[in-house]
């Protein structure tokens, strides 16, 4: 016997009901609600990632591949950026200083402290957010829209452990390493600029007298926190992708924008924390 299930009044369903129209209050609070939901999503993903690491759910092969991609793949990019930045910082700071006092013997000491506490970790993280963050969101987003993440769950593998953990560890480790590299590169480039533009000799410019352990602690702390923020923000964007290739595009753009904003906000918080807990010399 044929079963004609549930006859449908199609016209009634197509007409939007008054109850479904969003209220003015709902419209006004929607961005805050979405922001709160995003923050909760980030917190949940971070918690799941740390739990997976604590349980030892780390695919070593994937971790090595990610370290190579994040670290080695970014060296040239970071080197060029920090070379230019190091030279510009020295020239601009030197010219400004000369307007007040014609004496540049402490230029190097100030620049090195500024690089260590601020520019090396922050600029390095911003560069990584554009290169690595976009890649993470695009890769995971593509897997989501082609059901590969669902296939992982069906195969008994946890997407967070399989996709996020290797990228998370790789970003933390390699961003810390790249921060030290950034400091070194900017210092070398700055020394060259100081010598060329202001005729400062190398021994005068390379002056670590203003840099103490607290500066390195702040630098490493920033590198680690930024290294956690980039993969978490980007992975969360990727994992919440919907709507095919257009959705992947949005996720990628959002990953870069949100990672960059997160880095700047975290930088502000960590700088305040650093000046209170680890005051500069």
């Amino acid at each position: 016997m044929t079963i004609h299930a549930q006859p449908v009044d199609t016209h009634a369903e197509l007409e939007p009901s008054a109850a479904s129209e969003p209220s003015a209050l709902k419209t006004l609070t929607a961005p805050f609600s979405a922001f709160g939901s995003d923050l909760y999503g980030l917190y949940t993903l971070l918690k799941q990632t740390l739990q997976a690491i604590a349980r030892g759910q780390v695919d070593r092969e994937s971790l090595v591949a990610q370290c190579y991609s994040v670290g080695n793949g970014s060296v040239l990019f970071i080197t060029v950026t920090m070379t230019v930045l190091g030279m510009i910082m020295v020239v601009q700071s030197g010219l400004q200083t000369q307007r007040v006092i014609p004496e540049l013997s402490l230029l190097g000491a100030n620049i090195i402290q500024l690089l260590a506490r601020e520019f090396a970790p922050t600029v390095c993280a911003m560069m990584l957010a554009t290169r690595v963050g976009a890649g993470i969101a695009a890769e995971i987003g593509s897997m989501v829209v082609t059901d590969q993440v669902d296939a992982l769950r069906m195969s008994g593998a946890q997407p967070v452990a399989y996709l996020v953990v290797p990228r998370f560890i790789a970003c933390v480790v390699m961003l810390t390493a790249l921060t030290f590299w950034s400091l070194f590169v900017a210092l070398v480039a700055g020394t060259f600029a100081a010598n060329t533009v202001f005729d400062l000799n190398v021994s005068t410019f390379i002056n670590f007298s203003f840099v103490g352990m607290s500066d390195y602690v702040v630098m490493i702390l920033k590198a680690v926190v930024f290294g956690m923020a980039i993969p978490i923000v980007s992975s969360q964007r990727g994992l919440t992708t919907f709507g095919g290739s257009e959705g992947v595009g949005w996720a990628t753009t959002n990953a870069v924008v949100h990672s960059s904003v997160a880095i700047l906000l975290l930088d502000l918080l960590l700088s305040i924390f650093g000046y209170l807990v680890f005051p500069p010399l």
Partner: protein, 248 residues
């Protein structure tokens, strides 16, 4: 009934996709879910294995309500209820044999070595042994689909969900997939739920068919009952006519 969707509702934002779907699937049958694109066929079967959560309604698998289980509690459900996705969904970074070995490692806890041996045996069953070491990107759609089916069957599931298994396949590969689905049902007693638009598949291997339309089950019956249905919406769909009462 081993599988029962009861008054299932699901909305994505303002779009109410499922509006109270009731379907029961019998043991060992080859059950097809048909309907226009975007009507919620894939959404429906994804609920059974917890890939989506319903807004309202219940889903019973072997008498157990599964729609509110935690991710961890869904592991045994996903072990006995495999799914073949529309896009094959093989992992690009793994070779074919590694793809098939993954569920054996995660669900059965086999070592990598043992899982790979078992995976090779499984690939041999679907005549894909020569492609063990190949990566998905090196294979065509039909071959990728066969590897995906091998991966889904690797845990000897009682239930298999096929999401448009013949889409993008040539007619010969499509009929081979049909044959495989039928063999699973007839020879091994596997219950299959197949989401499909492929009219040849539907009228060749389906035991029963449910047609979804505007969030509801429009009709549920055997292929013969569908052929003789007086419902103009059903007739338009199964005859593939562009003009008719169906709103897409």
């Amino acid at each position: 009934m081993p599988i029962h969707f009861q008054n299932l509702h699901k909305a994505f934002g303002d779009k109410h996709v499922l509006r109270g779907v009731d379907i029961e699937v019998r043991n060992g049958e080859c059950f097809f879910v048909i309907g226009a694109s975007g009507v919620g066929k894939s959404v429906l079967i994804k609920h059974l294995v917890g890939l989506l959560r319903p807004d309202a309604g219940d889903i019973y698998l072997d008498g157990e309500e599964v729609s509110r289980l935690s991710e961890k509690a869904l592991y045994p459900v996903r072990k006995k209820c495999a799914m073949v996705f529309q896009n094959s969904t093989l992992f690009d970074s793994m070779s074919c044999v590694e793809n098939v070995a993954l569920p054996l490692r995660t669900h059965k806890g086999l070592s990598m070595h043992d899982a790979l041996i078992e995976a090779e045996r499984r690939l041999e069953q679907v005549h894909m042994h020569e492609f063990c070491k190949a990566f998905p990107a090196e294979l065509g759609d039909g071959l990728r689909k066969r590897v995906a089916i091998a991966r889904a069957l690797t845990l000897d599931p009682q239930y298999v969900l096929f999401d448009e298994p013949t889409t993008s396949l040539d007619p010969i590969s499509a009929r081979r997939v049909d044959k495989l689905i039928l063999e699973l049902s007839r020879n091994y007693g596997v219950t299959s739920i197949v989401v499909s638009h492929d009219l040849t598949s539907i009228f060749t291997i389906a035991d029963r068919i449910a047609m979804l339309y505007q969030g509801h089950v429009r009709m549920l019956g055997t292929p013969n009952q569908f052929r003789s249905s007086p419902d103009p919406v059903v007739q338009q769909f199964i005859t593939g006519q562009a003009e008719g009462p169906m709103e897409v």
